[in-house]
Symmetry: C2
Subunit: 332 residues, 2 copies
Amino acid sequence: MRENTTLKKIAEQLSISISTVSRALKDHPDISPETKRKVNELSELLEYDPNPYAINLRTHSSKEFAVVVPSLSNFFYHSFISAIEEEARDLSYSVIIYRSSNDPKIEQQILKSCRHKRVSGIFIAITSETTDIEPFLKLDTHGIPVIFFDKVPQYESCNKICVGDEHAASIAANEIFKKGISNVIGIFGDKNMSITQARLKKFNEVLFKDDKEMNLKMVHAKSSDEAEQLTLSLIPDFIGKKFAIFCMSDEILAGTMKAIQRLGLKMPNDLGVIGISDGMIPKLFYPEITYAETSGYNLGKLAFSRMMRCIAGSSFAQTIIDESKLVQGGSI
Amino acid sequence: MRENTTLKKIAEQLSISISTVSRALKDHPDISPETKRKVNELSELLEYDPNPYAINLRTHSSKEFAVVVPSLSNFFYHSFISAIEEEARDLSYSVIIYRSSNDPKIEQQILKSCRHKRVSGIFIAITSETTDIEPFLKLDTHGIPVIFFDKVPQYESCNKICVGDEHAASIAANEIFKKGISNVIGIFGDKNMSITQARLKKFNEVLFKDDKEMNLKMVHAKSSDEAEQLTLSLIPDFIGKKFAIFCMSDEILAGTMKAIQRLGLKMPNDLGVIGISDGMIPKLFYPEITYAETSGYNLGKLAFSRMMRCIAGSSFAQTIIDESKLVQGGSI
DNA sequence: CTGAAAGCGCTTACAG
DNA sequence: CTGAAAGCGCTTACAG
């Protein structure tokens, strides 16, 4: 096994001191051009690369960001991470991706490891079970900025970057409204989730904004399968009427679409379908599903710029909401 | 910002030496029970956690594995990573996930960073553009085992863990055969990919194993859209016959399914569909698509045990092929 | 312009 | 059973 090149080795070969080599390599003004040239040449030759552990031990900084998500099998998080990585690369930070598996215990371990590694900052979508946010606040105390995204705590005074749940729901509701559809099934997620509450409330509100008569049936599904069953049981009452189904999330949309295929119904004639999505699932069907887009990519860009402001010293906590836009498929 | 607890701080408070604290903490037999008790107590109280940078600098070991994949938006990789993380956690290793974005340059950067970090080992699915595998072999020289999985280089003498392309293709072909279907459309991926070649060859071979008459049309699609277009243009010739479509991958399946929905055809009566998949996409349709399963999870378990054997000193390079199994949907 | 020295937080061979 | 010391590879204030 070949030894790694160190400053010492370069210094010895050039018969100069380690300090000089170190300075030459970082283009310190004190060092003569001639020395710099020699040092750079040799370090190229020997493929010198500084030992990050030594640097960190010395400087207490890692130039690393951590992104923590409950799950990776999620297009939304995937595009969020892409955005972070793009930005990070430009500033020669690296990005470590952690997966909490939606388990608060694992989340705590990850957090601890982030602290020990003295990462420069953390982007995190918390688990649905996370109750104690004390450890997150403590990291801020330790000088490690924490930016919450997507799944964020209730607690007020922290940095949060969220999808505009209300906005997305209102876009979807408006589209239904504009199509003159007055029979609507709304399938929402777990009652206890804050995004369910936000989306439901706004959806309802917009749909009833005029005093137009509306026949709205709202239900909750905790899984794709449940959404499928609910859709199957609800549709019969709507057959023959002009109606639409709103799916609050990709998971629900997947279940609903299975039911629709099972019943052999065609969009947009037999019924309309509209969702809120990051855009992968809706594109698997024909016609493609119309949806209000929640973009992980946008969210990532917003989160990153917030992070850089924190690193620059801003201690002001802020909640940023990303707006969504309607993406037309042919399903409604 | 609160300072981190160090060995020194504990030693001072207890008026003993740093060495003793260090030893007590790792339950060294030399140290008296009494001292151990005191040290452990105080370190609990002060929430002592060793500085990983210092340890690494000293011991040259990181207890960290790297997993490098071209993309995260891929259920297969996701389940591979899950398997690795499970195993790693048991041995208190941590796992860093890197994404090469299918760019060999980024892949090289990641590799370099793995080397500097002296990760304990690397699991990697290389990019489709990766030609130079020299740097990977060099890592082995540096004592960092590299296990290739899924997308592996041609080069013989390295550790590779692969999906059984031939086996999966033969399972799918056999199922078509067993159903007595003799008109078949086979949609394959990019001609240049080794998995395309392996799958195509075996599929063809099994389908023609008896001398039964077979009407097989094989085409290549580079994208989901292309698969959709091909399906649309090929189906008319098969309508009325008893026929099936084989989709080599999820990407192709997604395109083909869009075409089928567009034409309003029903499985399994109008046609049969069968694929090779990790199982997420097939479950989005009704009826669910029958597929030969390539399990990222299995692959991960296999890769991990291979890794541990490498770390234990095995230098013998090995190629391991994971078998697949048929998962019945109702599509054929 | 260059170098010697201290120190980041740990581990471990050596000495007692 | 415990401690002093060296050293992992770097950076940087200090001195010249």
